[in-house]
Subunit: 343 residues, 2 copies
């Protein structure tokens, strides 16, 4: 019989019932296809507009295709998916709304900036873990051009970028979660709080998000009574080179050493030397496509037994930024494990 309470520690849930990722898919743009993970993505589109008229519709198409692929890989049909947990970076989540509309599946729209991949997996796992559905989908997207238009400058402006700036990933990752045995198991989550350390530079997202990542990782280890060595990898979403250093420093002050265990999807996805991507990749597509293409296969084949996936988000809009507000961060942690013999 299931326990009555599943929450542990201050901010975590441990799932007693089985929650599996049964399939996933990654769809990316040309630049991501040319990066170090290029061979691992399911679909690389040479045309970053994906045949659409606008960057926003291109991003919608990313989500539509990623979900179609994930559903197809699982041998299911869209109607087998009971809920969608999805979001993007654009104002009023329009990439999600217009991308997923035609599926006619009940939708929970989410916004957690670039942490949304963690938020969507968390809520999807909670839903399946409670027995509320047999199969649900979690998906997120970002697009370099729609994000530049939303948050920075028109592409035609060709402005220079500081080295601390990250490069928004054009990509969408979709995950199907189910109580049936799958590729990896989600065994717990730690849900993050907003952390504001007073960063005001919207071109230095890594610094804005690192404190939130440090906070949720430290809390996670405390809640579950674990050490960094209990994980093969502790994977942040898009801190980049600048944020990675800050994260490791912040955690070392709490006597937590993740320097040998930490990886960042934003660092993995581009080649810093040849691709001109500054501090690394970012966007809520960055961590999603990297989890799908790079980490899930390693969890499936047992190369990794357990990882902590920690997408990180910077909470700002052009309005909040122009009004002089800080850029606080948030991060959500998800434990993914190799299934092994037990299944």
């Amino acid at each position: 019989m299931a326990k009555e309470t599943y929450y542990i520690g201050e901010q975590s849930l441990s799932f007693p019932k089985e929650v599996y990722v049964i399939s996933s898919a990654s769809v990316v743009g040309k630049k991501e296809g040319e990066g170090p993970l290029g061979g691992a993505f399911d679909m690389i589109c040479e045309d970053d507009k994906f045949g659409e008229d606008t960057w926003e519709m291109a991003e919608s198409t990313l989500q539509k295709e990623a979900l179609a692929l994930a559903v197809g890989k699982a041998g299911l049909k869209p109607k087998d998916v009971r809920y969608l947990f999805a979001g993007d970076l654009l104002g009023q989540n329009i990439a999600t709304s217009f991308g997923l509309m035609d599926y006619e599946i009940p939708l929970f729209g989410l916004y957690g900036a670039c942490s949304t991949a963690g938020e969507s997996l968390s809520l999807a796992a909670m839903c399946v873990g409670a027995g509320y559905a047999k199969c649900v989908a979690a998906l997120t997207s970002s697009h370099f051009a729609s994000a530049e238009k939303q948050f920075r400058f028109p592409l035609e402006y060709a402005n220079q970028r500081p080295v601390s700036a990250t490069w928004t990933v054009t990509g969408s990752g979709a995950f199907l979660l189910s109580s049936k045995k799958g590729e990896a198991r989600i065994t717990g989550i730690t849900t993050g709080k907003i952390v504001d350390m007073g960063i005001k530079d919207s071109m230095n997202m890594g610094a804005a998000m690192a404190p939130a990542a440090a906070d949720v990782i430290a809390q996670h280890l405390e809640d579950f009574g674990r050490k960094p060595k209990d994980y093969d990898k502790i994977v942040t979403g898009d801190l980049g080179y600048v944020g990675q250093e800050i994260l490791c420093n912040l955690l070392s002050k709490k006597n937590i050493d993740i320097s040998g265990t930490h990886e960042d999807c934003g660092i993995l996805i581009y080649d810093k030397e040849t691709q001109g991507t500054g501090s690394g990749g970012s966007g809520c597509g960055c961590s999603a496509v990297t989890l799908s293409a790079h980490y899930l296969p390693k969890l499936k084949d047992g190369s990794y037994k357990r990882i902590l996936f920690v997408p990180t988000g910077a909470l700002l809009s052009t309005v909040s930024f122009n009004e002089g507000q800080n850029v606080p961060g948030i991060a959500h942690a998800v434990v993914l494990e190799h299934i092994g013999e037990e299944a």
Copy 2:
């Protein structure tokens, strides 16, 4: 022992465990305070900037105050609340981020346009119903001035408004949900799909949202095997006068007559004759404050035994609108019941 599966019909969940609203609070602006429900709100602020420098921070303050009141009414402290399920209408949910940051409570940021009040209550109820937390909060806000700035014209422009336009409510409603006995019980939810009937007029949100409301209400009645007469009221969020007529017409084509049972928060909250609010109130604060101030007391005292609360959202941004996209709608239904003798 709890059932293994809680989902019923195509899109619904029925909660076998007890999920209660244990307290709620409503904070509104001056105009809402002068409306028909004025006497019922917990806090009415004469200054629509709530002492802040910007409209966005004013909206953040609405959420902050609403949550503080709801927590205080329940005799709890913020740290007793394990998760926040919250959202607003602004790009990148900034009212929510900056309003709730200081609470340091794990946050699930949501975006469902004006349906977010239903989405947040649904996810909060799912969380409590699964035993994932003893107490969580669901809250949403909107602000007339921040919404006009986000979606329409600068206030200083003093443009004319078509009669089909709604008036964004300045307000925030917060709800604490718990497994402990409270003011009303949440017994089920029906989660909506995006419905696009081809409406392109962003000044006629009622028409854009009515099909989604009709869809989720019809599905709800089918999933639960109920008739409109099984509800004292079927309450939409902000269809206004224009949307109400369309909703009743759409449902009558499916042989569902809700004309004697339907109410709309956007119609209740303003006096059409004297307040110049066009088709009615709107915004994700509209349904939230009306549920808190008007419906929950009637459920608590038994005037109503059961209502269906159906906040409705129009999915657009200025970008999607300017790029010629339609304005699709979404709506999420929540069943709230009088507790009565059973508790």
